[in-house]
Symmetry: C2
Subunit: 171 residues, 2 copies
Amino acid sequence: MQSEFVASRSADQRDSRESRNGNPQLDAVSLAIIEQLQEDGRRPYAAIGKAVGLSEAAVRQRVQKLLDQGVMQIVAVTDPLTVGFRRQAMVGIHVEGDVESVADALTAMSECEYVVMTAGSFDLMVEIVCEDDDHLLDVINKRIRAIPGVRSTESFVYLKLKKQTYMWGTR
Amino acid sequence: MQSEFVASRSADQRDSRESRNGNPQLDAVSLAIIEQLQEDGRRPYAAIGKAVGLSEAAVRQRVQKLLDQGVMQIVAVTDPLTVGFRRQAMVGIHVEGDVESVADALTAMSECEYVVMTAGSFDLMVEIVCEDDDHLLDVINKRIRAIPGVRSTESFVYLKLKKQTYMWGTR
DNA sequence: GCCAGAGCTGCGAAATCCGCAGTCTTCTCA
DNA sequence: TGAGAAGACTGCGGATTTCGCAGCTCTGGC
């Protein structure tokens, strides 16, 4: 299973040249490769090579490295509604004590699709994907509020998803 | 370019059998195919076929149909930080008047990665990806607040992305 | 100058993709 | 009730892509 990002990576996965924040430094060619794959994740290496000015083999090696490093992943993404998850919500969380440990507990929950630590009136924001209202209620009231350190929550139930892109770096 | 979801689809793209909300109904086999591609977007059709009990050609036809229908897309997703976007934020928006038109305006902005209409104390929530603080400030104060109907906004700057998955339907 | 490592190219074999013809089932309608 | 249309699947062969590897070039360290 590789469809998960975790912010920190182990040392042996890092590139030799890395920037201040510990992430590998990408050159223009790698960015161009990523752009190609953001348009179509199954585009052949030869076609990408032609677009970015590299041989098929070189593109293949770069893509493999980007995947190994965790810089990028190639996956199917779906509209949750279509796949049977009828309730989604963003939940803002106020924490007392250690925010990181609360975040870890949330990360471990399969219903939490997206967990981010924020500055502002919430300490954490979490996106939740559920099958129905009962499921959502259960997750928020029983599971999230039961985590030690969670002081209060505020929920924003999704009415309509208007846009969802994956085009970072294509601007 | 196909890396964008829009919630409403034109009539001719719809499946013959569709559920109440207008989305195509997926059977267990299509879900299983999606799961396979959520683990690895480049997995060969033959391997998927073996896993779900279908021929290579049948898998290929189903995948093509899922892509055409907009149920799923196969794309590269990246860690924005690695690709040079150092500031991300979730912005909650209070709207007066037509929420949909504000949402459309936000959808048109390339910095808005994610736009969703919500119930709760915000009418809209938007995820923004920027290169730096100046860029973020410009987007929020100059661009978003300039949209007619936007009454006020509240920002939550990302400190740390803890989890980001694409595993809907894999539970 | 020499070595080691990283990155690229070219190439042949193996695997995959792709289009198509044919089969089977279901559904519709006269 | 039967003809016919539509949808979905299989099998197959040719085209394309992927994959592994040997060899080349460039760079940095010593």
